[in-house]
């Protein structure tokens, strides 16, 4: 009996060492970790509701998460944050919700489990590549001969616009107030408008169809993006892991490459 003990001890030490090693391998970027990663107990399908402005980044993040966890499928659904809130309130089955602003996340506060801020976004001036009206500053947008399109004050990008107008005392008289930031972008890239106020990430995502002009006053309105797991999640374990992934190193890298700021 006494001779058996050292063997079990040795085995325990060996196992502990192996775990420690594989854990170290996991946290390092070395791809060697995959054999032990496939042994993780995450499996099943989760549904992620994401704000429209997260379409590109969250599609990429879902793909990465799936390749890290082969037994997991991530379904994504993108729409305006307010539309997603309506869907959640009417019983849509989602496991996670990432909103483009705190106000919309607050509306479903009683449905949430864990909530974390994971990114920020600021406004930038978008102009057609040729910049026909010669816009250089935020104040230029208030000039009567500059056709400016903004978001309507009721949507997040519009309320950010109003905040900047109030902080600077510069009063823009837009030719149109759109209900979605993508509509503003469309009116600028088609050349219908001389300028529009959209998010930094929208301009990055537009890949040259519009030109971005940064302006210092944009710091007056920083939009914070929260993500949360939902109480009714059928797969809370995977949902929690995805939230951790988005807020972790890999998530941060994808988000910052798309132009998002750190919270």
């Amino acid at each position: 009996m006494t001779t058996a003990r050292p063997t079990t001890k040795a085995a325990a030490i060996l196992i502990a060492a192996a775990v420690a090693l594989s854990a170290a391998a996991c946290s390092s970027p070395a791809p060697k970790a995959s054999p032990s990663a496939s042994a993780d107990d995450l499996s099943g399908t989760i549904t992620v509701f994401g704000a429209a402005s997260l379409t590109a980044t969250f599609t990429e993040l879902a793909k990465q998460f799936e390749s890290d966890h082969p037994d997991v499928t991530v379904q994504t659904s993108f729409a305006g944050s307010a539309d997603l809130v309506t869907q959640l309130q009417n019983g849509a089955g989602a496991d996670l919700f990432a909103s483009a602003d705190e106000k919309n996340m607050d509306k479903v506060a009683d449905l949430l489990d864990t909530r974390v801020d994971f990114a920020t976004n600021t406004l930038e001036i978008a102009v057609p590549p040729s910049n026909p009206a010669g816009v250089k500053t935020f104040a230029d947008l208030a000039k009567p001969d500059v056709k400016t399109v903004v978001c309507a004050p009721v949507v997040p990008c519009g309320s950010a616009t109003v905040t900047i107008e109030q902080a600077t005392g510069i009063d823009i008289t837009p030719v149109s107030e759109e209900s979605a930031v993508t509509d503003v972008l469309g009116k600028v890239s088609s050349g219908e408008a001389d300028a529009g106020l959209v998010y930094v990430t929208d301009i990055k995502g537009a890949k040259g169809s519009v030109k971005g002009i940064e302006f210092p006053e944009s710091s007056k309105a920083v939009n914070t993006y929260p993500i949360a797991t939902l109480k009714d999640s059928a797969n809370a374990k995977v949902a929690a892991a995805f939230l951790k992934f988005v807020t972790g190193t890999k998530g941060k890298a994808v988000l910052s490459a798309a132009g998002f700021g750190a919270p």
């Binding site: 307010a82 539309d83 009721v154 030719v175 149109s176 509509d183 088609s190």
Partner: protein
């Protein structure tokens, strides 16, 4: 007396319920106590006024251009007539957002016609005129369809008689053709008005959205739904009531006429 198969009633009732149920359901969600307050905000009133005036203007344009188009399509023969008819009716089956993109290509600042107009200082995009153009574009086929059918049905016998009695073409058109198809003209105009009133996709793509200038009632509802469901539902109900009034008035006018 020819009987109607009984099962037809059952299927018809299901069909009718399918159309009515969502409207009734919406009516139950209206906060009736706050209804007057919800529909009388300045933004709502501006949107309603804009919707009514632009739809009326679009209907006039439909009558002005659609009537001659219907007569030409119904009465004349030329090669390619069927292609022309199909093209004219295209907006009927096209998603309105495509209509908006097409209108932008024609009348936008970078458009085929819009660019030279912009050079001389006339800009259509983001103006109330853009709203009327979008509405006319989608509503015109309703008038043409209804009028052309009536013209074909009426035939040319009366017109032929009138001209053998010495009436000139314009007199025949004014005194014989138009009175013959007046009910169809009326119902076509009402359909066009109703279609213009409901126009959304082409307007939001082509005209933009600004209170009092381009934000019609459907656009206002679309925007309100994000922040204030109660207000959006109340405004939707208002649009339903306006639509019902329009239909009711024409039905009455038609029955009064005999």
């Amino acid at each position: 007396m020819i009987g109607t198969p009984r099962w037809l009633y059952v299927v018809a009732a299901i069909g009718g319920a399918f159309v009515l149920l969502p409207l009734v359901a919406m009516a139950t969600r209206v906060d009736w106590a706050r209804f007057p307050e919800l529909i009388s905000s300045q933004a709502s009133l501006d949107a309603l006024r804009l919707s009514l005036t632009t739809s009326a203007a679009a209907t006039v344009l439909c009558l002005l251009f659609g009537t001659p188009m219907s007569v030409v399509l119904a009465r004349s023969r030329f090669p390619g007539l069927r292609v022309v008819r199909a093209a004219v009716l295209l907006p009927l089956v096209l998603p309105p957002v495509i209509g908006g993109i097409a209108l932008l290509s024609a009348f936008g600042r970078q458009g085929l016609v819009g660019k030279p107009l912009d050079a001389v200082g006339i800009t259509i995009a983001f103006s109330t005129i853009a709203v009327v153009l979008a509405q006319t574009f989608v509503a015109m086929p309703f008038l043409v369809l209804s009028l052309e059918g009536a013209l074909r049905l009426a035939g040319t016998r009366y017109e032929a008689v009138a001209s053998t009695l010495g009436a000139r073409p314009w007199t025949v058109f004014r005194r014989v053709t138009l009175p013959l198809v007046l009910p169809a003209l009326l119902s076509g105009a009402v359909l066009s008005f109703a279609r213009a009133l409901g126009e959304f996709g082409a307007t939001i793509t082509f005209a933009g959205s600004l209170q009092g200038t381009t934000r019609t009632l459907p656009l206002e509802i679309y925007q309100e739904r994000v922040v204030d469901q109660d207000s959006a539902v109340a405004l939707s109900m208002l649009l339903v009531v306006v639509a019902l009034l329009v239909i009711g008035l024409t039905l009455r006018a038609r029955t009064a006429r005999g």
